[in-house]
Symmetry: C2
Subunit: 169 residues, 2 copies
DNA sequence: GGCCAAGTTCAAATCATTTTGAACTGAAAT
DNA sequence: ATTTCAGTTCAAAATGATTTGAACTTGGCC
């Protein structure tokens, strides 16, 4: 029976604090475009002053190993958490990148850029062949022009936003 | 056997055009935060120079009456389409609000504002009780401050974005 | 009134996404 | 060489959101 260096039972205030932080992130999960479990993993790391191991994350959140593994993988790829270099330790520990911008950039990259690029092709198709009578085509032409306007304004804005995120926040 | 004023079989080019426009919007559906069927309904209205009736929408998209009913309801509420005033006609016809801003505003209102407000409460909770040792609390304090910074910057930005959408686009 | 056409409602079915868990891999410990 | 521990993989289960369809309402017309 080894003496527990770290009590498995943690203080009630700590648990409450963790719950509040995790909720903050899981509530935001769909705006950030990540599954709840991923937001929760980020949250639990955020809520701990010491970097956490895989199994600490698993037990504090009570989610499956599979989810922890996949979630950590995504968060590492995106740069939202990073392994803490600790020479001698055999278990990797993770700490959050304290700025949320990595998660936001990931979202912009995945969702917005992807859609803008798909849109570019669609608009080409659409402009290529307006059907119908002359009168009808005139109306459609105007609509498609407004679509194009939207599209190109968004496309122009996106890099600016990305740039702003890199600087500030 | 009544003479069809409007042929049920429409030109292939028209069908292709509609398909391209509908795809444009259904691809964008999740960025806009609406179900695909709703995006499709908006798309089919957008693709028609003449305003469409309920049953035209239903048959051109081949979706159920239930979905058309719910989709039109949402789009009307949001102001993304509007009934065309045509004095004598018994069937309502709908045309798109050609600016996409209604849909975007709806999204900002629903998702972003909601989350920002929920976040405000959470942050209060979180700040109220940082747990742990003094050293730990110092780290957490910094993290929470960064969260708060994010939150308040987003909250400040949102009305500006809404305002910009109302003016331009 | 009774009937039909147009649209609404909502519970059940479908579909997409996320999560689980059990089998597996690899690497250290004995 | 075997055992054990840490983590990965991926097919199947669970969950959550969307869509369907059938029963129902409403309003016009005979």
């Amino acid at each position: 029976m080894p003496a527990p260096l770290k009590p498995a039972v943690r203080a009630a205030e700590t648990l409450a604090f963790e719950a509040a932080v995790v909720s903050f992130f899981t509530d935001a999960a769909d705006i950030l475009g990540v599954p709840k479990s991923v937001a929760a993993i980020y949250g639990i790391c955020f809520a701990s002053p010491e970097p956490l191991t895989f199994s600490e994350i698993e037990s504090r959140l009570d989610i499956s190993k599979g989810s922890v593994s996949q979630g950590l993988k995504l968060l590492k790829e995106v740069g939202a958490i990073r392994p803490v270099a600790e020479e001698s330790a055999r278990l990797e520990r993770y700490e959050p990148d304290i700025e949320l911008r990595k998660l936001v950039l990931h979202y912009l990259e995945q969702r917005v850029s992807t859609q803008l690029n798909a849109g570019r092709g669609r608009i080409r198709e659409i402009k290529a062949a307006l059907p119908g009578t002359a009168a009808g085509r005139a109306i459609l032409k105007e609509r498609v022009a407004s679509l194009e306007g939207w599209h190109s304004k968004s496309a122009a804005l996106l890099p600016l936003i990305k740039g702003a995120l890199k600087l500030t926040v």
